[in-house]
């Protein structure tokens, strides 16, 4: 029989057969591999009712310019029906540098909001009810310092820590693997992560102190299998580090959260979410024997794939994003960000971000896909793919085990090299037109369609630098220096650093000053260059 191609493969290169039948599910058991929604191994979802109970949280990642600019965008999004906040920080903030650092020149406020001090954080959340809105903060290297600022702000507003809900990304392993924003070597970073986990179990019980992220691994060019395997293995690495520091698995595991990409291959992506939940539950059970079932449940956020968007014919991106969003929802995500059509050109405009939010609302309210849990459960194809992804990820787990764990693997450049090879394969496929990208290698139009983009004014950097110098003059420098000294002493030992970070923030030490003080103790890191 004639077919278009000799071999059909998923976006990740897995073989896809003409048709799937009962024969493909011979080893598969509905009791063992599927289960009920809300029950082990959670293939069908972590809640018994899923979106019949409550739809996913619509959480658009936002941040640009000054704290005031972003505060205005937050209020705009909340006013249009968004149900949670998600902060994007600019590059200097993500790298633990103040806005007036030499290396911050030209970058302040560009790809996120500039936050150098507690006062900036207070302006960012001005008028936003921290006890009623949950906030996700996408920051990793200096995550513990930003968290200390958020907590201090809440304390000053009289909001008890146990009323605070939200997520700190705080996932450093995927930084070494993919996104490349670190401050220190892996070991001190792992210690800071364990410190935030420990602090949250005691004081901020509703907070998710880490969001173990595959998003950036995928954006760097990985396959779905690599995203799944490296992310879950990172998660297991954090659990081991916390146990080694003396935490009880059930004290922190229910608050772990995950963050996945959702790319173009519709069924592969749905299967990825299902496989991720099953694999996490099985590995947690097998390795750490928790008693609380919530320790086995993989809750996650998803974001549509930025790297799938095209600068050519940018309005087509609305369609790509909608399909990806639908896959994440059929995969059972707990929250979702949909990218705006203009994000291959600049940060999104208000019009573009509203359309992206509306795409989610249309799926939630008009498509009726939310009426039943895991509607694709039992599909020959989706179940086969789910099993295949789980098996492929397990094979990568074994390779990581033989390399001596994730930190050793990173130091040897293993995940970086695997991702680079996958990214090269994908690029070759696109250039040979083995994969068609509409508007890029087929259906090309000569002129790009101009759409309006967001501009960041040069005054953002100047104003922020002025504010910082005024803060440095106003504060009690003697007290501040004392707090930083105490922080350094604690950092040299093995106490939990959160109380010292809170003291430093309260004394108006800036983000850059705190991170520089820690670098003196912890040192810096240079990656093995894989090319």
């Amino acid at each position: 029989m004639h077919e278009r191609k000799e071999r059909f493969t998923s976006l990740s290169g897995l073989p896809v057969e003409r048709v799937y039948t009962n024969d493909d599910l011979k080893q598969w058991s509905p009791e063992k591999d599927l289960g009920e929604p809300g029950a082990f191994p959670y293939t069908r979802g972590i809640h018994p009712t899923m979106y019949r109970g409550r739809p996913w949280t619509m959480r658009q990642f936002a941040g640009f310019g000054s704290a005031e600019d972003t505060n205005k965008r937050f209020k705009y999004l909340l006013q249009h029906g968004q149900t949670g906040l998600s902060v994007a920080f600019d590059m200097p903030t993500l790298m633990g540098l103040d806005a007036d650092h030499a290396q911050a020149r030209g970058e302040v406020g560009y790809c996120g909001v500039t936050i150098s001090s507690l006062e900036d954080m207070e302006r960012l959340f001005d008028g936003i009810p921290l006890d009623r809105v949950t906030t996700s903060m996408t920051i990793n290297g200096p995550a513990a310092v930003i968290f200390a600022m958020y907590l201090t702000m809440a304390e000053r507003r009289g909001i008890a820590f146990d009323k605070l809900g939200g997520t700190l990304q705080n996932d450093i392993l995927k930084e070494y693997i993919a996104q490349k924003e670190w401050l220190f070597p892996p070991e001190p970073h792992l210690r800071l992560i364990v410190d935030t986990l420990g602090y949250c179990t005691q004081h901020v019980p509703k907070w998710h102190p880490i969001s173990i992220s595959g998003y950036h691994i995928r954006e760097a060019g990985s396959t779905a299998v690599q995203e799944l395997a490296f992310t879950l293995y990172d998660g297991l690495t954090y659990v081991e580090a916390a146990l080694k520091a003396g935490l009880n698995v059930d004290s922190f595991a229910p608050q772990l959260s995950f963050f996945f990409n959702v790319h173009n291959d519709f069924f592969e992506e749905i299967a990825k979410f299902r496989a991720a939940r099953r694999l996490w539950a099985r590995e947690m059970e097998r390795r750490f024997h928790p008693k609380d079932p919530r320790s086995l449940q993989m809750r996650c956020h998803a974001q549509t794939a930025g790297c799938s968007l095209t600068a050519q014919q940018p309005m087509n991106n609305v369609v790509r994003t909608t399909l990806q969003a639908l896959a994440a929802i059929l995969g059972g995500t707990q929250s979702l960000h949909t990218n705006s059509m203009d994000e291959t050109l600049a940060l999104p405009t208000e019009v573009a971000v509203k359309l992206a939010l509306r795409s989610q609302q249309i799926i939630a309210h008009e498509s009726e896909v939310t009426n039943t849990v895991d509607p694709l459960g039992g599909s020959y194809y989706v179940e086969s793919l789910t099993t295949r992804l789980e098996e492929e990820a397990q094979a990568l787990f074994r390779r990581l085990d033989t390399l001596g764990g994730m930190v050793k693997a990173i130091e040897q450049g293993f995940p970086q090299r695997e991702i680079l090879e996958a990214s090269l394969r994908y690029q070759r496929e696109v250039e040979r037109k083995e994969r068609i990208i509409v508007g890029v290698n087929e259906y090309v139009e000569p002129e790009s369609t101009a759409i309006p983009t967001l501009k960041i004014g040069a005054e953002v950097e100047k104003d922020q630098v002025d504010r910082l110098s005024s803060l440095r003059l106003r504060r009690d420098s003697f007290r501040m220096a004392g707090m930083l000294e105490a922080l350094q002493e604690a950092a040299a030992g093995d106490e939990n650093l959160m109380p010292y970070l809170l003291d430093s923030v309260k004394a108006d030490a800036t983000l850059g000053e705190i991170c520089a003080a820690l670098k003196e103790v912890f040192g810096t890191y240079k990656e093995p260059v894989v090319i």
Binding site: E107, E219, A220, T310, A346, S448, V529, I531
Partner: protein, 132 residues
């Protein structure tokens, strides 16, 4: 190209963003096309880039930025090259750069900006075209 030395190209990430997927693809493509590639790695300052370019005696500098800082960092590299009398080194860029910024960057002396979705062959041809 018989009888001429291969083109030497410095590729680097200038500024703070760590998105290195694109630049690594370009590095492979240029090497496959027979060029010599010096990759600086991440988080380079304009000063570091220019010093390396002069030391390594490259014909061209390709810089990737996805952070929005191109309007400051790319002209800064050009300015430093001029200060050091190395303005014969061609500078080109790529990444998330809005169309509206391209003419300003070209006026500052950036030879070309390659946007998202550029085929690798386009960059190879551009560099080969630098030779008479």
């Amino acid at each position: 190209m018989v009888g001429t030395a291969p083109l030497r190209v410095l590729l680097g990430k200038v500024g703070l963003d760590g998105h290195d997927r694109g630049i690594k693809l370009v590095a492979r493509a240029l090497r496959d096309a027979g060029m010599e590639v010096v990759y600086t790695g991440l988080h380079q300052t304009p000063e570091q880039v220019v010093n390396t370019a002069i030391q390594e005696d490259v014909n061209a500098i390709g810089l990737s930025l996805l952070s929005g800082a191109h309007n400051y960092l790319l002209p800064r590299v050009i300015e430093l090259l001029k200060q050091k009398g190395a303005e014969d080194i061609i500078v080109f860029g790529g990444g998330i750069i809005p169309d509206a910024d391209v003419s300003g960057l070209k006026a500052a002396g950036v030879r070309h900006i390659f946007g998202p979705g550029t085929p690798m062959a386009g960059i190879v041809d551009f560099l080969k075209g630098l030779r008479p």
